[in-house]
């Protein structure tokens, strides 16, 4: 067997990959479910926190800043292990899926809050004043005037950050969530061949390359606008 054939047999054994496809499909669905639920709840919570911050209640804002700082400083895997192994001992048993969803939602919310808040700050004070002077209320000004502009500005950094955090769904494998990586490592140790791992990596690439390219496109598009 030539070197190349051996390489193919090790990483691209079609028979093994074919047998692995159903499990990979299951993992793919679970990864997608996790991703979508994290993106929806994380961005919603982040936006909510950023809006809460505009009311400028000192105690609330201090609490938000502490929360954001802590979740930006802590590795997600530490939080996942903490919640997964710690909470059952105090009577809160959560499934691996729920733990990963919860932790990554909180992490994404922290980053998203920072980005939304920076966006809100970047909308000039005059816009607020002009909107208020036309008779719009505070919330109306926020929703119809400030947020639409703020969110546009934040799209590129928000996309990149969201991609980086949703990629952490792979950490679910550590707490037994049957997502793509988990299926791949299980199958790999079962068949003693690296092809399932390769197939899993390709599944991730298929899932994320389009979003990465979209992020790149958003970045160029918005930098043109700036210039």
């Amino acid at each position: 067997m030539s070197q190349f054939d051996r390489f193919l047999a090790t990483f691209f054994d079609w028979e093994i990959i074919r047998d692995f496809l159903p499990a990979l499909g299951q993992g793919f669905v679970i990864t997608c479910e996790l991703m979508v639920s994290i993106v929806v709840s994380g961005l919603a919570l982040g936006l909510l926190l950023a809006v809460a911050r505009t009311f400028r209640v000192r105690a609330v804002n201090a609490a938000i800043v502490v929360y954001v700082d802590a979740l930006r400083a802590l590795p997600p895997l530490v939080l996942i292990l903490l919640a997964y192994f710690g909470l059952p001992n105090v009577g809160i048993g959560l499934s691996g899926f729920t733990v990963v969803w919860l932790v990554l939602t909180l992490v994404l919310a922290a980053f998203a809050e920072e980005i939304f808040w920076a966006g809100i700050l970047s909308v000039r004070q005059g816009q607020w004043e002009a909107a208020r002077s036309t008779g719009l209320g505070f919330l109306q000004t926020l929703v119809y005037v400030v947020l639409p502009q703020a969110v546009r500005l934040t799209l590129p950094p928000l996309t990149n950050r969201t991609i980086a955090i949703t990629k952490n769904t792979a950490l679910g494998t550590v707490v037994g969530v049957g997502e793509i990586l988990n299926q791949a490592t299980t199958a790999q140790s079962f068949v003693g061949n690296a092809s399932p791992l390769m197939a899993g990596a390709i599944a991730y690439i298929a899932l994320f390359v389009p979003v990465v390219v979209l992020g790149r496109w958003l970045e160029t598009r918005y930098s043109w606008r700036k210039a």
């Binding site: 400083a73 802590l74 490592t185 994320f208």
Partner: protein
């Protein structure tokens, strides 16, 4: 309440776990000292390659960057650590982590340097060349110093991400901070060692995150 205190903030267990956690912390620091410079240099190489004239090279750079930004770091790490041995390449955990992180971090740092280089007007490079500096000198003395200044917050922010990322090394049994804490947890059936590790990460990274937050708001990011 007592149960919570006992489970998460058990001082006696924390004291007992300290020696192993301390060794873990040293390993985490060693990892940082290896992977951060590797990533910074790899990223610079990626960004510089991205500025060359040849189209195929530029396309290859974009392909590299997008590929390694799309693959989750843990997948890459497990691929290097558990997949490559099948091809006859058996790596120690430390080597596997270094290689996986080099690929991942070069892609991220590379994108940041690229944004920095693009933020410097072409006129700067032209002016530098017209004074007689060659291409290398222009890049090294004129473009890069300004480019790096412009993207400093992003570079620091990515470095924070890398320090956090080193916790993934626990998955391939490299005895860094999180691995040591998790070992202590499984021996004591108590979560306090992980709380302790979390506290150490906070101590290390909170000041940097605070600084970043101020930098970002001042620069109007």
């Amino acid at each position: 309440m007592d149960a919570v205190l006992d489970q998460f903030f058990n001082l006696q267990i924390m004291i007992d776990a300290w020696p192993i956690i301390w060794r873990g912390l040293l390993m985490t620091l060693l990892l940082c000292v290896i992977v951060i410079p590797l990533g910074l240099v790899g990223g610079l190489a990626v960004a510089l390659l991205g500025t060359v004239r040849s189209k195929p090279v530029r396309w290859a750079v974009i392909g590299f960057v997008d590929l390694f930004r799309a693959v989750p770091p843990l997948v890459l790490l497990i691929f290097v650590y558990a997949g490559l041995p099948f091809a006859g390449l058996q790596l120690s955990p430390l080597a596997a982590v270094s290689i996986a992180f080099l690929l991942n971090n070069s892609a991220y740092y590379g994108e940041i340097y690229r944004a920095g280089i693009e933020s410097i007007g072409a006129g700067q490079a032209e002016a530098a060349r017209s004074t007689g500096l060659n291409a290398f000198q222009t890049m090294a003395y004129v473009v890069l110093p300004q480019a790096i200044r412009n993207v400093l917050p992003d570079l620091v922010s990515n470095t924070v991400e890398i320090v956090k990322l080193t916790s993934l090394a626990s998955v391939v049994a490299l005895p860094e901070l999180l691995y040591s804490a998790d070992m202590a947890r499984s021996v004591t059936y108590n979560t306090s060692p992980i709380v302790m590790a979390a506290g150490i990460y906070l101590l290390m990274l909170w000041p940097v995150v605070r600084l970043l937050s101020r930098l970002e708001h001042r620069m109007g990011h």
